[in-house]
């Protein structure tokens, strides 16, 4: 190994547990992962979020050791595991379809990993039941996987991947095989178990709600690259591109030109809005440049009266309204023809006597509600 090539280019974080450096994966003439850098802290739950074909699963499979990296390096707890075969990595994975061994009982499934290590039988038994207790499946130890429900299979799969006390746990689309109703409850349970055990975890998902519910930090991937990485709150509030803004949650996107550029505010002229946008913070883009502005639906305020001032409001007509229980989702056709979405809390809706379809209405937003994006 050429050590100088891999000498840490970034200052080493003492909390850093997993480090992915310049990892590339090429299948034939398809680049699945192009130069990914990633750093995951000890005991962190980290989500790789992306749609299918974004390279997130390939990255996960390289972490597990099922795929060899074309180039780059993977460090786990300071140790280079880039070319360690999967059966020698202190890494365990919970598979998307769980991949429980159908010819073995629940107990044998969970014991499998310990058996390969040559752990003695009494200890295997203790640790298997400790793991099954953790996921509340000890009562099902003699069942075969096909005698369990989807949720039960998932818990057995979790026990199987935790029983070896891996340094790194990988979750591949952990909720995709579950019914929607039990998903959210399961997500919270799973996080509780992971925090109780204290394991570093990297999960892959295409479901942004799942990533935001479970992960401490997440990375958004597209076309084999990480486009943004941060806490769910940060990525949601400060997306760095139109792609991220619309991938994480829904948003209203406007395209315009910067007409006023001051250190403490900017104004953006926008063809889709009759009045300019006013943003109360500076931006790095120069005057006259075309930019995109993202405003989240929950940041749009709805009123019957025309708002004060010359900025940050628009007139339109309700074209559709969906009642979601705790809030209502309005689709409003602005005078420019553009349709925006606004989510209005039910409490506010009751106070203002909910506007109906085809009613004229004003939408407005605060000067700190908009995010300016260059790309």
């Amino acid at each position: 190994m050429n050590d100088s090539r891999y000498s840490a280019p970034h200052s080493a974080d003492p909390d850093e547990f997993v480090r992915v450096s310049d990892v590339v994966k090429i299948f034939g003439d398809v680049v699945a992962v192009r130069s990914v850098n990633l750093s995951v802290k000890r005991n962190e739950i980290f989500a790789l979020l992306g749609s299918s074909g974004s390279g997130k699963s390939t990255l996960l499979r390289m972490l597990a050791g099922f795929e060899e990296t074309t180039s780059g390096q993977i460090l786990l707890d300071g140790e280079d595991i880039t070319s360690v075969p999967p059966y020698r990595r202190p890494v365990n994975m919970m598979f998307q379809s769980y991949a429980l061994f159908p010819h073995m009982t629940v107990e044998a499934n969970v014991a499998f990993g310990l058996k390969q290590e040559g752990v003695d039988r009494a200890e295997i038994h203790d640790r298997v039941f400790e793991a099954l207790d953790l996921v509340q499946m000890a009562g099902y130890s003699r069942r075969k996987p096909n005698q369990l429900s989807g949720g039960q299979q998932q818990r057995v799969a979790l026990a199987r991947s935790l029983v070896k006390r891996p340094k790194l746990l990988l979750l591949d689309e952990p909720m995709s095989a579950l019914d929607k109703q039990i998903r959210q409850k399961t997500q919270i349970e799973l996080v509780k178990i992971l925090e109780q055990v204290g394991v570093t975890c990297i999960m892959v998902t295409h479901d942004q709600e799942e990533a935001m519910t479970m992960a401490h930090r997440l990375a958004v991937m597209t076309e084999g690259q990480i486009v943004q990485c941060g806490t769910p709150q940060d990525v949601y509030a400060f997306p760095n591109s139109r792609f991220v803004a619309s991938f994480i949650g829904s948003t209203n996107m406007f395209t315009g030109t910067i007409v006023v550029d001051e250190p403490d505010h900017v104004a953006i002229e926008c063809a889709e809005l009759t009045r300019p946008l006013y943003v109360n913070h500076g931006v790095s883009e120069p005057l006259g440049m075309e930019v995109h502005v993202s405003i989240r639906p929950e940041r749009l305020l709805v009123s019957r009266e025309q708002p004060d001032g010359d900025y940050n409001w628009a007139h339109g007509m309700v074209s559709h309204m969906a009642w979601m229980g705790s809030y209502a989702l309005y689709q409003i056709r602005l005078d420019s023809g553009k349709t925006v979405e606004a989510s209005v809390p039910s409490r506010l809706l009751a106070q203002m006597d909910a506007p109906g379809i085809d009613e004229e209405i004003f939408v407005s937003w605060d000067a700190d509600s908009a995010t300016v994006l260059a790309s």
């Binding site: 597990a64 050791g65 099922f66 075969p85 999967p86 059966y87 020698r88 890494v91 365990n92 994975m93 598979f95 379809s97 991949a99 429980l100 061994f101 159908p102 010819h103 499998f112 990993g113 390969q116 290590e117 069942r143 075969k144 096909n146 005698q147 199987r160 991947s161 070896k164």
Partner: protein, 305 residues
């Protein structure tokens, strides 16, 4: 009170669907077997047919006689017992060799890319396009003392005098394994190709080295395919006639040859029938066991779903 309604008498749609295969089995399997069973209890005589009937009207009485000569001979003359044992042994070894050779082949085909896989499957099935008789004749040509194999080895100077393979048990094994190997490969391939390869990844992930994963995951999961293939080899191999007749020596004992002798050389139909009935019984036992074990396994698997 018992009430009769037309519905009890008219067959339902489901019953109708079972009729054709059921009728087929009765007509072409059960009835012929019952005929053979009947003949096995008759007495040999000269005439057409060359056996007596079981029931006779004589002296104002219907006499019903079961002649056990064939069965008694079978169990007292150790020629027959030895032939049965030898048949089972030859079929057993053939099956074992088929498992040992066929498993890697089936495994390799199942794990090949889709294109290569179809070519290889074709290669496995290809011999069936030629008659078995011709293919066995080809083996005669290869294995004979002045055949292809000996000529080749002698030409290369590897041996000085021809290997005596033709007309020995070894030739029978070669011919049988050759003829029956596809019957083992195909069902096993079908099982292996269906296997979810993520299970192997899961095994590696949990620390199993490739060969450990093979023994603990692939082998048990292909058990049904191995059993099905082994049955398809073993059962016809026990009664095989053509291959031992053409490749075997005078002392290659196989039940198919005995049957042939009794029927055509000795014209002893009852004896030949008795030989047949005992063979069927011999084959039914492993078959029933196989069926039983499969049902039990299915019940275990699907029991409390």
């Amino acid at each position: 009170m018992i009430r009769f309604s037309p519905r009890d008498w008219l067959p339902s749609g489901r019953a109708l669907a079972v009729v054709p295969p059921f009728a087929w089995l009765v007509l072409f399997l059960l009835l012929p077997f019952l005929l053979v069973l009947k003949i096995s209890f008759a007495e040999m005589k000269f005439g057409i047919p060359p056996y007596t009937s079981l029931a006779q009207f004589q002296d104002e009485a219907i006499q019903f006689s079961l002649h056990l000569r064939g069965y008694i001979l079978l169990f007292t003359e150790d020629q027959y017992v030895r032939t049965y044992l030898s048949s089972v042994k030859i079929a057993g070894i053939t099956t074992l060799v088929c498992v040992l050779i066929g498993y890697p082949i089936a495994y390799y085909i199942a794990r090949s890319s889709a294109r290569v896989r179809n070519l290889l499957l074709l290669a496995v099935i290809l011999p069936f396009w030629t008659s078995l008789l011709l293919r066995v004749y080809a083996w005669v040509g290869i294995l004979r003392n002045d055949g292809l194999l000996n000529n080749l080895l002698q030409g290369l100077g590897l041996i000085s005098s021809p290997l005596e393979i033709y007309r020995t048990d070894l030739a029978v094994y070669i011919g049988m394994v050759y003829a029956y190997l596809p019957f083992f490969i195909l069902p096993l391939y079908a099982t292996l190709v269906k296997m979810d390869l993520r299970l192997l990844e899961a095994a590696y992930d949990l620390g199993a080295k490739p060969w450990q994963a093979f023994w603990q995951i692939t082998v048990p999961m292909s058990r049904q395919g191995v059993i099905a293939g082994a049955m398809l080899v073993f059962i016809p191999a026990v009664g095989e006639y053509v291959i031992p007749e053409m490749l075997g020596g005078a002392n290659t004992l196989m039940i198919g040859r005995v049957m042939w002798n009794e029927f055509f050389n000795n014209a002893d139909w009852p004896m030949a029938s008795a030989v047949t009935c005992v063979m069927v019984l011999l084959l039914l036992v492993p078959l029933v066991y196989f069926q039983y074990s499969q049902v039990r396994q299915q019940r275990q698997a699907g029991g409390r779903a």
